[in-house]
C-alpha cells in the first residue's frame, strides 16, 4: 500500500528532484496513513533519502541499467509497484521520468496526471491540480483508476527535511532483452555547466544582445550566480546559441527559483515556457517590453551597461555571503 517514488540519480548520486519527490510523497503518505518506498537504480549511497522521509528503499544495482532505458526502467517501476501493492506512484518531471511515465501507466492500467503543482486536493475522489495551457491555467484532474500515477512539476513543492527510519532492501527485478529495443550509442553532455533542468537560477539572453559575440557577459553573470545559461527562440533560430539553450513554448521549459531575462522582450511563447519560475527579473531598454508585465523585478536600461555592473556587484555580494 506504500506510496512508490522513483528517486533519480546521475553518476551514482541523487539528483535534487529526488529529494523534492521524497518530501512531497512523505506529506501525501502522512495524510493517508501510509509510508514511502523509493526505487533507486545504481545509486551507491541511498541513506540520504532518510532525511526526507523515505521509509524503505528498493535498491537496484544492475549493470544492464547503467544507461537509461525508458522501457526497462518502466518495467522495473511496474515490478516494484506490484511487489509493494502500491496504489499511488509519484514520479518527477525530468526528461527521463516524463518519458517513462506513460509506459508505467499502461503496464499498471493506471490513470496518470502529469505537471501536478501541489498536494492532492482530495484523496477520495483523488483530485490533483496541474499546469495546463502552457502555464496560462490550472486544471483539476480526477484519477479514477485503482492504481494512480502523478508526475510532480519541477520546483513546485520544495524540499523539506523529515527524518525517517530507513530500511534498505536489495531488489532484483526481471529485465529481458525486450526491454532494450532502443540501444543507446552515444551520450553527449556539456560538462562543467549547470543544465537548465537542474538549475536553481537561469540567466537567459535575447536578441537585445545584438550578436553571439556578446554572450560572454551572460556566461559570466551565470557563473557568478551558479546558474545555467539559456536563450530566446530568435537567438537559437539565428544560430547565435545552440538549440539546446532555447527556452520557451517550443523549447525547454524552465521552472527555476530565479529567471533573469536580458534583452528579451517577452513574446507570449517565451513567457509560456518560463512562467513556472518563481521569481523573474527583466533587464531591457524598452519599458514597453511585455516581459515587464510578468516580471517581479525589472531594470529599464541597456544590458551592455547594466549586466557588467551587476556582475561586479554580485561578485562583491557573493564574497560577503
Amino acid at each position: 500500500m506504500s506510496i512508490l517514488i522513483y528517486a533519480e540519480s546521475a553518476e551514482g548520486k541523487f539528483r535534487k528532484v529526488a529529494f523534492e519527490l521524497a518530501s512531497y510523497a512523505k506529506k501525501v503518505a502522512e495524510s493517508i496513513g501510509t509510508t514511502v518506498t523509493a526505487i533507486t537504480i545504481n545509486t551507491e549511497d541511498v541513506s540520504e533519502l532518510s532525511k526526507y522521509g523515505v521509509d524503505k528503499v528498493l535498491k537496484i544495482t544492475n549493470e544492464k541499467l547503467s544507461s537509461f532505458s525508458a522501457k526497462a526502467y518502466a518495467d522495473v517501476i511496474k515490478q516494484a509497484a506490484q511487489k509493494e501493492g502500491t496504489k499511488l506512484v509519484i514520479l518527477s518531471s525530468t526528461t527521463d521520468s516524463i518519458y517513462l511515465a506513460p509506459l508505467v501507466a499502461v503496464s499498471l492500467e493506471a490513470g496518470l496526471a502529469s505537471n501536478v503543482v501541489e498536494l492532492p486536493i482530495n484523496t477520495s475522489p483523488f483530485q490533483v491540480k496541474r499546469n495546463a495551457f502552457s502555464n496560462k491555467a490550472f486544471n483539476i484532474t480526477e484519477i479514477s483508476s485503482e492504481v494512480k500515477i502523478i508526475g510532480l512539476a519541477k520546483n513546485s513543492y520544495g524540499i523539506f527535511e523529515n527524518t525517517s527510519n530507513l530500511s534498505v532492501e536489495d531488489f532484483n527485478p526481471t529485465i529481458g532483452e525486450a526491454d532494450f529495443g532502443i540501444k543507446v550509442e552515444k551520450i553527449e553532455k556539456v560538462s562543467g555547466k549547470v543544465s537548465i533542468a537542474d538549475a536553481d537560477i537561469v540567466v537567459s539572453g535575447g536578441r537585445g544582445l545584438k550578436g553571439p559575440e556578446h554572450w560572454g557577459m551572460i556566461e559570466e553573470l551565470a557563473q557568478v550566480l551558479g546558474a545555467a545559461t539559456a536563450c530566446s527562440k530568435p537567438v537559437s533560430d539565428l544560430d547565435w546559441r545552440p538549440h539546446s539553450e532555447h527556452v520557451g513554448q517550443t523549447g525547454k521549459p524552465v521552472a527555476a527559483n530565479l529567471y533573469i531575462a536580458v534583452g528579451i522582450s517577452g513574446a507570449i511563447q517565451h513567457i509560456a515556457g518560463i512562467n513556472s519560475s518563481k521569481v523573474k527579473v527583466v533587464i531591457n531598454t524598452d519599458p514597453e517590453a511585455p516581459f515587464f508585465k510578468v516580471a517581479d523585478y525589472g531594470v529599464i536600461g541597456d544590458a551592455f551597461e547594466v549586466v557588467p555592473q551587476l556582475i561586479e556587484k554580485l561578485k562583491v555580494f557573493k564574497a560577503q555571503h
Binding site: 525530468t94 516524463i98 525589472g298 551587476l310
Partner: protein
C-alpha cells in the same frame, strides 16, 4: 514506408484562455485553432521522408467535426490522407487507445506524435500508444533517420543529447529539432486546392476505459506589478533578490 502523424487541434498560442460552464470547460469562443506546434515539427519531418524516401503520410486526430479544418491544413501541407476518430479527446489513455487501433490496422512503420500538446500539456499520448502496441519508443526526439528497417535517432536529454539505434516500427514523441522553424511550411494555393479532394475518413471510436477526467479549470491569481529598480541602483536589486525574494 508508411507514416502516421498524430495531430492535436489546439488553441493558437496567442489565444486568451477562458473557461465556460462554471469553469468546467475550455471556452472556444473567438479562439483560433492550429496544428499543435510539436506535431507540426513531426509532420514536416514526415514530409521530408515523403520527398526523400517516398513515404506516404496519414494524419490522424481524435476529435469532433470542428477539428477537420486542422486536418485539412495538414493535408494542404502535404499529407496523403487523413483519419478523424469521431470522439471527444478527454483522457490521454482513451486517445492513445484509439490511435493505437488505427496504427495497428494500418501497419505503419513510423508513428510521429508531438511530445506534448500545448493545451493539456499531458505529454503522455505517444508513450501510451507505444505501451499499448509494444513498439520501440523514443521521446523528445530531435533527429530521425531511417535506412531499410534500421533507425538512428537523437533524443534530447537534460544537459545534452543521446544518440540511439533501433528498428522499425517506431513511435516518437517529436519536438523542434526534428526540423527547424525555417523548414515549416505554409500551405500554398495548390496544396489547399488538392487538400479538398484528398480522403478524410471518419471512424467511430472503440471502447476504452477512461482513467482521468478534467473536472475544473482555474486561472492563476493576477500578478502584482513589477518592481522597477533604477539602472544606477543595482545594489537595491541584489538586496531585493536576497532579502525579499530570497533567491540568491
Amino acid at each position: 514506408m508508411k507514416i502516421l502523424v498524430c495531430i492535436s487541434h489546439v488553441p493558437d498560442t496567442t489565444s486568451k484562455i477562458n473557461f465556460a460552464n462554471g469553469d468546467s470547460q475550455f471556452d472556444t469562443n473567438g479562439v483560433q485553432f492550429v496544428i499543435n506546434p510539436n506535431d507540426e515539427y513531426g509532420l514536416t519531418r514526415a514530409i521530408w521522408f515523403q520527398e526523400q524516401q517516398g513515404a506516404t503520410i496519414t494524419v490522424v486526430n481524435v476529435g469532433n467535426a470542428e477539428t477537420e479544418p486542422t486536418l485539412r491544413k495538414a493535408l494542404a501541407i502535404g499529407a496523403n490522407d487523413a483519419i478523424r476518430i469521431n470522439a471527444n479527446p478527454t483522457d490521454s489513455f482513451f486517445v492513445a487507445k484509439q490511435i493505437a487501433e488505427v496504427a495497428k490496422n494500418g501497419s505503419y512503420d513510423i508513428i510521429i506524435a508531438g511530445k506534448e500538446s500545448l493545451d493539456y500539456n499531458g505529454g503522455m499520448v505517444p508513450g501510451m500508444i507505444a505501451g499499448i502496441l509494444g513498439y520501440n519508443f523514443l521521446n523528445s526526439c530531435i533527429d530521425l533517420l531511417v535506412d531499410g528497417s534500421n533507425v538512428k535517432a537523437i533524443r534530447e536529454i537534460d544537459g545534452g543529447r543521446e544518440t540511439i539505434s533501433t528498428t522499425l516500427p517506431i513511435i516518437i514523441g517529436g519536438q523542434k529539432g526534428l526540423v527547424e522553424e525555417k523548414d515549416l511550411r505554409i500551405p500554398n494555393m495548390r496544396g489547399i486546392m488538392t487538400a479538398r479532394t484528398k480522403t478524410l475518413t471518419v471512424v467511430e471510436p472503440i471502447d476504452a476505459s477512461i482513467n482521468t477526467k478534467a473536472v475544473k479549470f482555474e486561472k492563476p491569481a493576477p500578478k502584482s506589478a513589477v518592481k522597477l529598480v533604477a539602472a544606477d541602483n543595482l545594489d537595491e536589486l541584489i538586496n531585493l533578490l536576497h532579502n525579499e525574494a530570497k533567491v540568491i
